[in-house]
């Protein structure tokens, strides 16, 4: 096992990884920008290294600085968390070249799944059901129109190098397609330095359902069930739950097996998430996230598995040591992502935390790097806390979540707690009948 792990991230996920390491008897090294000198992960880590100024390109994305920090601190391995360099294959290569272990998948898998077109081909080859679309990049409007005719409208134009909703344009009719193509391509060029785009059939009322997979270096793989992440705003997940209210046991076992078989076929190592759109009983592969997810705690709550611990074990060369039958699901879990934002306008609200009092008691988990008096820097992501609640069933979980939201005090700034309180009272959420478009309408007060 590793002696010392460098955590190349910040905020709640740096703290999450720190906790897993401490619980495995591993020493931790925090790296941080000058803006994060007072951050919780820095305060709690065994050692810390300042790696640069607030700008992420000069600090959390600064590969050389992070590797130098690993060298001077004598770390064995680097955990990239999520975001930043987590899915950067070049970084993973460099980490290995410098003699450290990258706690994650192989650089080849990062590279493969980072290319949306190749990823889709690989997924299809590995037996995953995919959304019907163009076979590769679309270069002309004529090609696009022909392909769209075959798929049926609406269709969506996506950037090959894209992610997080950027470089995506919808065409409801053939009249809209040429414009959407052009706009998506130029956005992609500006945003990712690569204007390549492709076409996909657009599902009207799909859910976002993803399967958590885990595989070791010896070909053993399991799935840890699915998460329903359909509650999104601007392609950012807001609430996640497991199990999905839309699946029954049969569908769950079926998609779980399909995902696990694909992971084995791909020769994938580490934890990962296969994201699907789900509509009318059918799954369509969207992408594979080759990293720890923000929403991994809901899976932990219903399986009892410590996903981060498993990830570290696998990176250290340990075999899974269990089979699919060992994974048992118990109860229901929901995660609310709490952002430092106005709950109606979503304007960011950085600043100093006044009172801070997280909820406690049975079935309540808070993953947050906040503390009273902490000053949220304005440079980074606005997600400041995750409230994860477990209950014996979905209704108990919902009731517990409501009381936990009512107990949560984050003073001094605006947060999205009131949005979550409204959400937990919305009939569509209570009934579990939402799709990926519902939240946008809800925040726009259309529902």
């Amino acid at each position: 096992m590793f002696e010392k792990v460098l955590i190349a991230n910040r905020g709640e996920i740096a703290l999450r990884i720190h906790r897993a390491c401490k619980e495995m008897g591993i020493r931790t090294v925090a790296v941080h920008s000058t803006a994060d000198a007072d951050a919780m992960h820095v305060r709690l880590a065994d050692e810390s290294v300042c790696i640069g100024p607030p700008r992420v390109t000069d600090s959390y994305l600064n590969k050389a600085a992070i590797l130098s920090a690993a060298t001077i601190s004598g770390a064995d391995a680097i955990h990239p968390g999520y975001g930043f360099l987590a899915e950067n294959a070049d970084f993973a290569d460099m980490v290995e070249e410098h003699g450290f272990t990258f706690i994650g998948p192989s650089p080849q898998h990062l590279r493969l799944m980072g290319d949306k077109i190749k990823a889709k081909e690989a997924a299809a080859a590995a037996g995953l059901p995919v959304v019907p679309g163009s076979d590769g990049a679309v270069t002309s409007a004529d090609d696009a129109l022909a392909i769209a005719e075959r798929l049926g409208y609406p269709v969506i134009v996506k950037a090959s190098a894209g992610g997080g909703g950027r470089g995506m344009k919808l065409a409801m009719t053939k009249e809209e397609l040429p414009g959407a193509l052009k706009l998506a391509s130029s956005e992609a060029l500006a945003g990712f330095g690569n204007g390549e785009v492709y076409l996909e059939k657009y599902l009207l009322k799909p859910r976002h359902i993803e399967v958590q997979v885990i595989a070791d270096s010896y070909g053993n793989a399991c799935h840890l069930g699915e998460r329903d992440c359909s509650l999104q705003r601007r392609h950012q997940k807001v609430v996640e739950e497991a199990p999905s209210p839309a699946l029954n046991a049969e569908l769950r076992a079926q998609i779980g097996k399909v995902a696990t078989d694909a992971v084995k076929a791909l020769g994938y190592r580490s934890v990962g998430t296969i994201e699907f759109l789900y509509e009318d009983g059918k799954f369509y592969f969207m992408e594979m996230n080759t990293r720890l997810q923000v929403e991994h705690p809901v899976t932990e709550m219903i399986t009892g598995f410590d996903v981060v611990r498993q990830m570290v074990r696998i990176a250290a060369g340990a075999p899974l040591g269990y089979q699919q039958e060992a994974v048992q699901f118990r109860g229901h879990a929901i995660e609310c992502r709490i952002n430092a934002e106005n709950p109606e306008t979503f304007t960011p609200s950085p600043g100093r935390i006044g009172d801070y009092h997280p909820p406690g008691g049975l079935g309540v988990r808070v993953d947050s790097a906040l503390y009273a008096g902490y000053k949220i820097p304005p440079y980074y992501d606005s997600m400041i806390a995750k409230l994860i609640v477990h209950g014996a069933n979905r209704n108990e979980c919902l009731m517990r979540l409501r009381r936990a939201l009512d107990e949560y005090v984050i003073g001094g700034i605006e947060t999205t707690i009131p949005l979550h309180q409204r959400l937990m009272a919305a009939p569509e959420f209570i009934n579990g009948t939402y799709d990926i478009h519902w939240l946008e309408r809800f925040v726009a007060k259309d529902v």
């Binding site: 640069g52 050389a64 600085a65 130098s68 060298t71 000053k375």
Partner: protein, 151 residues
């Protein structure tokens, strides 16, 4: 200052208020041990803020950090532009690049920082006299860590 002394408190607040006015700050918070003072002035958000971290969920090392900050704020400080290993000698056994008392010209190499197996020369940002060398040969340095003071 004894925290129970109102005269001293009065003075402290007035002093801080003057500082606030002169510097154009909007808020000064000042604390030590189990007490603190904050003065603020609502205006547009301008200027830097000096803030004592109010709540500390973990045992930090505030005095050490404070000492580092004092040096970091020294007008003649040269800080590390990168994480790495500092070398104050060009090679083992050689004479150091500079010693305390040396006069340096702008652009003179003060020391090397090795990062990613590359030795990066750190040059004097201005002419002056080396009054303090904080980096130790072969020791790791963080980004922003004070290396030397040139006055």
């Amino acid at each position: 200052m004894k925290r129970e002394n109102p005269t001293e408190l009065n003075e402290l607040v007035r002093t801080l208020a003057d500082v606030l006015k002169e510097t154009g700050l909007t808020e000064i918070e000042y604390g030590a041990g189990d007490w603190h003072v904050r003065v603020s002035k609502a205006a547009t958000i301008a200027g830097p803020q000096m803030v004592a971290p109010a709540s500390a969920p973990a045992a930090a090392a505030p005095s050490e950090a404070a000492a580092g900050e004092l040096l970091a704020n020294h007008p003649g400080v040269v800080v590390s532009p990168m994480v790495g290993i500092a070398y104050t000698l060009p090679e083992p056994g050689a004479a150091p690049f500079v010693q305390v008392g040396d006069r340096v010209a702008s652009g003179d190499t003060l020391l090397l920082i090795e990062a990613m197996k590359v030795f990066n020369p750190i040059k004097a940002p201005r002419a002056g006299t080396v009054t303090r060398i904080l980096a130790t040969n072969g020791s790791p340095v963080e980004f922003g860590e004070p290396l030397m003071i040139i006055e």
